[in-house]
């Protein structure tokens, strides 16, 4: 219990004294996760919409597979991305291993199925509502996908936020491909893991509180900017 109280105090002092390391790590965490969420949303949202409006033989299998991939073990993803980006791997020549780019790639792999799956579920319900109308208006498949994405944008924000939540708290994959290098690839979660292994529980918990605060702040900011949960909104 004492560690928790010390952690709160540590978090408070780190923030109010503008601790340079803390702000650098927090900024890198946000940069990596926000980039990964943006890229995963760019892939996952249209994929979810396409799955909702398309009918083909293996559709159920693909959707089941996508849902299963939501639970991808980050450590396994990290290992596979590590092997692909390592010097002897097919993309080794790009020199991305142990850089924030490698962390972003690993997170995109983890987040895309999650965002696509949540988007698919929201868009599928809207498609059931719109189906006859959009067919009747003789829209093309790409117009239907665009319409569904636009009209379910608030539900899709939830999908992106779920991705952000998973990404910002992820440690396994980014530890492997990033290496937790000080001032290069160290982020909040890997710093917490490091402080814990060093036995500095108070600082680890302090960083944990800052991480939670960061996640809550980003969620609140996005909700306020998009006007969700406001009266008379869908």
């Amino acid at each position: 219990m004492a560690e928790i109280w010390q952690g709160i105090t540590a978090a408070f002092w780190l923030i109010v004294t503008f601790d340079a390391d803390l702000y650098e790590i927090a900024a890198r965490s946000l940069l990596v996760t926000c980039s990964a969420v943006a890229l995963a949303a760019l892939i996952g949202l249209p994929l979810g919409a396409w799955l909702a409006v398309s009918r083909y033989r293996l559709r159920r299998l693909v959707i089941a597979l996508l849902n299963a991939l939501m639970g991808l073990p980050p450590v396994v993803v990290g290992l596979v991305v590590y092997l692909l980006l390592s010097r002897s791997g097919p993309f080794g020549v790009m020199g991305l291993l142990f850089t924030p780019w490698a962390m972003i790639i690993a997170q995109v792999v983890i987040l895309t199925p999650l965002i696509a799956s949540i988007a698919h579920q929201s868009i599928r319900d809207l498609w059931a509502e719109y189906h006859d109308l959009l067919i009747s208006l003789h829209t093309t498949r790409s117009q239907r996908i665009k319409t569904l994405l636009w009209d379910s944008r608030r539900a899709l924000l939830t999908a992106a936020l779920a991705g952000f939540g998973r990404g910002i708290g992820e440690v396994g994959a980014i530890m492997i491909v990033g290496g937790n290098i000080d001032h290069v690839t160290r982020v909040m979660t890997t710093a917490i893991a490091l402080e814990t292994s060093k036995g500095d529980f108070a600082l680890a918990i302090g960083l944990g509180f800052v991480l939670i605060g960061l996640a809550v702040a980003v969620n609140l900011a996005l909700h306020m900017l998009s006007g969700t949960e406001v009266r008379d909104r869908w």
């Binding site: 809207l126 509502e129 719109y130 006859d132 109308l133 067919i135 009747s136 208006l137 003789h138 829209t139 117009q143 319409t147 009209d151 379910s152 008379d232 869908w234």
Partner: protein, 237 residues
């Protein structure tokens, strides 16, 4: 301008999950008029409209428009019994069919505002369509169907569950569209409405067209026992 009518239907059936819902149906739809589709619940009125509009595929038989099939889609419109509102503003709902087919937004909004005046929803442009009353939604759905000036309009019980004033407004819009040359096929339960609007009637029973002809002949001297029972208000079994 390409004319898609007349439409002829030959021995068309609609089958779902092994059950025949409609047909075989044979009919011909000329270039003018307002055909009312009558029949008891489950007779296949909506299925017939959906088949002709292309929302259902025929299991057997065929439909033949006067124009190639791909040219007919843009010249038809459908209004559903329960209006489907896009999760957008009133203006956004009305401009959608235009912008989706290449009209510039400014031009689409200009046309939409004219229609909003016509249907009595001027001033509601920025209101969310989901906030409209049932009658207002149906008027908006009808305007959305008419905004591209279709040659053929399908109406599936557009006045079901509406109050008298809304029904009157909808009927005025329908008659205006008909006067402008739109061919209309409308399903309804309301015999009074059928008498007010119909130029001719299709009477369906158990998925078959059992009687068809000019409205006056149908209402004055129905030929089949099913139509006679229906007009008397008896149960049609």
């Amino acid at each position: 301008m390409v004319t898609i009518l007349p439409l002829s239907v030959q021995s068309a059936t609609v089958v779902k999950n092994g059950t025949r819902l409609l047909g075989p149906v044979d009919l011909s739809l000329g270039e003018t008029g307002l055909t009312i589709v009558l029949g008891p619940n489950g007779a296949g009125k909506s299925t017939l409209l959906r088949l002709l509009h292309g929302l259902e595929k025929p299991a057997e038989g065929r439909l033949r428009f006067a124009a190639p099939r791909h040219e007919t889609y843009a010249k038809q419109a459908f209004v559903f019994q329960t209006p489907v509102m896009l999760r957008r503003t009133v203006l956004g709902n009305l401009t959608y069919p235009l912008t989706a087919h290449g009209t510039k937004r400014a031009e689409a909004e200009k046309q939409a505002l004219t229609w909003l005046n016509t249907i009595g929803l001027a001033g509601h442009e920025q209101q969310r369509a989901s906030q409209l009353s049932g009658g207002e939604r149906q008027k908006l759905a009808l305007a959305r169907a008419l905004i591209r000036a279709p040659q053929l309009l399908f109406l599936d019980e557009p006045c079901a569950n509406l109050d008298g004033a809304s029904t009157r407004d909808i009927e005025r819009l329908i008659l205006t569209a008909r006067a402008a040359g739109t061919r209309i096929l409308m399903a309804t339960h309301d015999l009074g409405q059928a008498r007010r609007l119909a130029t001719d009637v299709l009477f369906l029973h158990k998925g078959q067209i059992v009687e068809s002809g000019p409205a006056s002949a149908f209402f004055d001297a129905p030929q089949t026992p099913e139509a006679q029972a229906f007009l008397k208000g008896d149960l049609v079994l």
